[in-house]
Amino acid sequence: MRADEQLSGAPIASNDDVVRARQRVRALAQECRLSLVDQTKLITAASELARNTLVHGGGGMMSSALVDNGTRRGVRVMFEDSGPGIPDMELALTDGWTSGTGLGLGLSGSRRLVDEFAIESEPGRGTTVVIIKWAR
């Protein structure tokens, strides 16, 4: 996979940044001509993950880009933080599991909303989540 256009990074350090993260992903989803439902799913997933980065990761970065796998175009969004990390990934990806501040749908729910979902986390080192939504 190659990044089609510049990978633009932006900090996620405040509630305002979460709003801006949604707007950036919306602009890319429209540029990629995702269907309205797919746009909505991708922006919603990005909103969940941006909030995770802020609330659980103590802030971080979001990078987003249009990508192309040879047959389809898509939008790729990456969230990185250097927070406490996730000690039990399987548990964290379970519906309803919460660290205490939400509904526990952030990770498990956003995974269902996108086509590709990859998460890496090391306790004490931080968490990186990459999602992709492909145009149909």
Partner: protein, 131 residues
Amino acid sequence: MSERVPVLKIGDVLLVSIQTDLDDQAVLNLQDDLAARVVESEARGVVIDITAVEIVDSFVGRMLATIASISRLLDAETVVVGMRPAVAITLVELGLSLGGVRTALTLEKGLLALQRSGLRPADGPADPTAS
């Protein structure tokens, strides 16, 4: 500084129309403002218009469910109106079906639903036979 969403009063009903992409603090402010306004105005119904809302994530979804529960405790009924089809599809897939939240497709239908539960959303008696 998070913006505050205006809360309008029409008869016994409080009307909130969300027009912009709210940050999380603005969402929490709205929850608190509405609870205070329900008591202060003795409203019997709350209508939340999300026609202009492009995405409802778990934070906003939880706010809608919480407002409905708080209002119920304060003797007011909440109806969420104007949800877009893509938002409904996304919420269900996200795992949030908002079981305890009453919905109507349009503002008009939402007000009618409250009226049928005996409220007076505009000037006029709640019971049409009483006029």
